[in-house]
């Protein structure tokens, strides 16, 4: 790194907020995806004003800047693929305001999802998306990826709760978007433009979230199936039965077996298990819903239907589900986790299609996911040190994306495009849409310094 440049950055952020230590650079080279590239340096910043100055400098010197939260992203969006500066936002970790009266929370981007959850719980409120990585992922990262989670089918994703943002633009200007009002149609919806923009348009430095009262009662039930078609039909029937479960998750055979290696749950190792939670404010309300679900389970040739009876059992089942991605990584040296999403009526075809792709390429694909909103997580398990397996993985991914698009679906329901899916953007988006996206990027970031190399924006 150029010494003069280094000194300029150090002068700006202070010695304690700057690092070129190899220990830090290696950790900043990765997120939870398979991608990796070391940055030149990393800086911690705690104010929008300082970030503005950093952006001005980077814009002037044309150095890439990659914002980073907890680094739990699954598609490489926090990987500094062009080097440059990592902007670590984890120290901007204050909850600035919780107003139950106005039903909103104002937070800095480095606040961990679970920290907000913990702060809201005593007040009987919650921020619903519930990403599986919520114990560690930051809210800024949730906004950048428009993170979904287990509660998506009923409560939507991060996007549905962002009322407003403070954003530092690539040229260093600071902007506020949205409103603290519950609704607003004032001007273009700049807030939504930034949610899910993967840190390519601006650096989010403050978020105003809408929060919900938290239902006080839940019921959990599960069913196992030895047939993917029955499983798909069950999901479909539940979702148009008139109730919406607060979670409807699917766990495939490999996932169940990997969870069994990690817990004492002794889950049945069948083709698929559906795990359903219903919620409400009275026991009758959730019981009514779960009974309806159980009736649908029973009409679709299940192996077993079971309702969780103790709190401990419920907690353990959901914790196991949230650990699925990481437990599966025990099987091979490498894995990629996809998040293709299709309209509900195609979920059975997607399940079957994933199985066919696995057989066609002779590669192991474990599946789990948020069946309730058509979002599956096929996790391809392979040996990253074996070029033959790596090639098989590439082919399987291509087939998977083609399948999802053919089923009127999308490449990504909640993890984002990042690096992993950039080569497939044109599969989903027509040339006009690609052109508009690229034009937007150029408008905000003409020098292409903010998180460059992502989302096929350079095409």
């Amino acid at each position: 790194m150029d010494e003069k440049l280094e000194q300029t950055i150090v002068d700006l952020v202070g010695k304690d907020n700057f690092t070129r230590n190899i220990i830090d650079l290696v950790s900043y080279s990765c997120d939870a995806s398979e991608h990796s590239h070391r940055p030149l340096c990393a800086v911690f910043a705690e104010t929008a004003e300082l970030i503005a100055d950093i952006m001005k400098l980077a814009n002037r010197e044309k150095i890439p800047v990659t914002p980073r939260g907890a680094g739990t992203g699954l598609s490489g969006m926090a990987v500094p693929i062009r080097g440059g500066i990592i902007l670590d936002l984890s120290r901007m970790n204050k909850i600035l305001k919780i107003s139950i009266e106005d039903r909103l929370a104002v937070v800095q981007p480095g606040v961990i999802y679970a920290t907000l959850e913990k702060a809201l719980a005593p007040k009987g409120f919650f921020f619903p998306p519930d990403p599986a990585s919520g114990k560690v992922s930051t809210l800024g990262g949730n906004v950048a990826t428009n993170a979904g989670g287990l509660k998506g089918a009923k409560y939507g994703t991060t996007r549905d709760y962002v009322l407003g943002l403070q954003v530092v633009l690539p040229d260093g200007r600071i902007m506020r978007t949205g409103s603290k009002a519950m609704k607003s149609v004032s001007g273009y919806d700049l807030t939504r433009l930034f949610v899910g923009s993967e840190g390519t348009l601006g650096v989010v430095t403050e978020i105003t979230f809408k929060i919900n009262p938290k239902p006080t009662k839940t019921s959990t039930a599960l069913a196992t199936f030895n047939n993917l078609e029955d499983t798909g039909n069950t999901i479909n029937q539940i979702m148009h039965s008139g109730i919406i479960p607060s979670a409807l998750e699917i766990l495939g055979r490999e996932t169940l077996s990997a969870i069994n290696q990690n817990t004492d749950l002794n889950l049945p190792e069948v083709d698929a298990m559906l795990l359903v939670e219903t919620d409400g404010y009275t026991q009758e309300e959730t019981a009514y819903q779960i009974e309806k679900v159980i009736r649908i389970f029973e009409a679709n040739h299940p192996q077993e239907v079971k309702q969780a009876t103790t709190d401990a059992e419920v907690t353990e089942l959901w914790a196991a589900r949230k650990s699925a991605y990481a437990v599966l990584s025990r099987i091979k040296t490498s894995s990629v986790l996809e998040d293709v999403t299709v309209p509900m009526t195609h979920i059975a075809e997607l399940l079957k299609g994933i199985q066919d792709i696995s057989e066609k390429h002779d590669i192991q694909i474990a599946t789990f996911g948020h069946a309730g909103d058509g979002n599956l997580h096929p996790q391809i398990l392979y040996d990253g040190y074996d070029p033959v397996e790596v090639e098989k993985k590439e082919k399987a991914i291509k087939d998977l994306f083609e399948l999802a698009i053919a089923l009127d679906g999308t490449l990504t329901g909640e993890h984002g495009i990042g690096l992993s899916k950039a080569p497939f953007m044109t599969l989903e988006h027509d040339p006009v849409a690609m052109d508009v996206m690229r034009t937007l990027k150029k408008t905000f970031d003409p020098n292409n310094i903010l998180n460059p190399g992502k989302m096929a924006l350079e095409g």
């Binding site: 220990i23 290696v26 739990t72 970790n93 650990s323 990481a326 990584s329 490498s334």
Partner: protein
């Protein structure tokens, strides 16, 4: 590529099993105090992968991360991929010592234990006003921290044993030297030999340790296997005390800090709580407890080598004691007592004791 280091030979698969999910970041005390992902378990596994892939030499520039781990095992406890981080870290430290890259504090500790009988290089052991090396039913083994840094706490633990009329003796103990295994070296056979000879000489069939680390060393390290062979049982004082009834109680709000060596490493969670509940009905848990307990920041040699961060970790733990309104923080480890007491802020009015010390004080007051 052929494995160059022992850590690769033993743990390559484990290291590659790390899915980089980052769940460890939520619980790592070092990350919690520094917010540097390079110091978290995931960061450490990434460094080791780079070393295995030949992209990074295993040298001095990695000590700040690889030697800055309290081996509290929170990461392992929370790792869905089952990566045994503390074991990997201990092995890597040995490899690093072999290539001449060791944190100076740990190198110093190793040198000290080659010449002296304790980690502090103290020549005058506290006699605790008691005869040593007597014939007795029990040996009370204090440990270095209890002997040389928390001697008041130790004296009170011994007074408690006296009040309970326990037939015990102290011995001219030397460091169990188990800590060396954590910081890149090995247990010193002469020290192990001396401890065992002294213990055997007393005729005691049970050793009660005041230190959870000595407890682990005696029970788990092959250098001390002879104790098992000779039928000498080793218990931690918290296990020993649970069978006693104490005629005293306090109305104060009491909480308990799980030492990592007793809790996550030994699975001893309920014994201390059972004892404390007998004397303190107003017992309250901190938000992170048992398997989820936050480390006090002292372990794995971190207090000696990275004092500032060690204190910052202790402060995070004490903030939880403050949050639950505790008036008394009890624990079962002199090292935890020492670090927590050093980190306590003036505005924090609670007192920090070992359980033994606190019970002894209550009994003394009642007399």
């Amino acid at each position: 590529m052929e494995a160059k280091y022992d850590f690769e030979k033993k743990f390559r698969e484990q290291i590659l099993q790390c899915s980089r999910c980052g769940f460890c970041q939520a619980v790592c005390p070092v990350y919690g105090a520094t917010l540097r992902p390079g110091l978290n378990a995931r960061g450490k596994m990434l460094l080791l992968k780079e070393v295995m892939d030949g992209n990074l030499p295993l040298d001095d520039q990695l000590t700040e991360s690889l030697f800055q781990c309290t081996t509290c095992a929170s990461c392992f406890e929370n790792c869905p991929s089952g990566v045994q981080v503390p074991e990997i870290i201990k092995q890597v430290r040995k490899d690093m010592v072999n290539v001449g890259s060791c944190h100076p504090a740990f190198e110093g500790m190793h040198k000290v234990l080659q010449k002296h009988t304790n980690i502090y290089a103290e020549d005058e052991p506290e006699d605790f006003e008691r005869e040593r090396n007597q014939q007795a039913e029990y040996v009370y083994f204090i440990g270095c921290v209890g002997s040389y840094r928390e001697d008041e706490a130790t004296l009170e633990a011994l007074e408690l044993l006296d009040r309970l009329r326990v037939d015990y003796t102290l011995i001219d103990e030397v460091c169990c030297s188990g800590v060396l295994e954590d910081v890149g070296y090995e247990i010193i056979p002469n020290l192990a030999r001396k401890n065992m000879d002294l213990i055997f000489h007393t005729g005691a069939k049970t050793v009660i340790t005041g230190c959870p680390y000595c407890f682990r060393t005696f029970n788990n390290k092959p250098q001390y296997d002879e104790m098992k062979e000779k039928g000498v049982k080793v218990v931690h004082v918290t296990q020993f005390l649970q069978d006693f009834d104490f005629s005293v109680r306090t109305d104060k709000r009491v909480t308990y800090h799980d030492p990592c060596d007793l809790g996550r490493h030994s699975g001893i969670y309920e014994e201390p709580r059972n004892t404390i509940r007998k004397i303190a009905p107003n017992f309250v848990e901190m938000p992170d407890n048992r398997e989820g307990a936050l480390c006090c920041g002292a372990g794995g040699g971190v207090r000696g080598a990275f004092a500032k961060n060690s204190i910052a970790m202790a402060r995070r733990r004490l903030a939880q004691a403050e949050e639950v309104g505790a008036e008394i923080v009890l624990t079962e480890c002199n090292s935890c007592v020492h670090n927590l007491a050093n980190a306590k802020l003036r505005k924090q009015k609670f007192k920090i004791y070992n359980t033994t010390q606190f019970i002894n004080q209550l009994m003394e007051e009642a007399e």
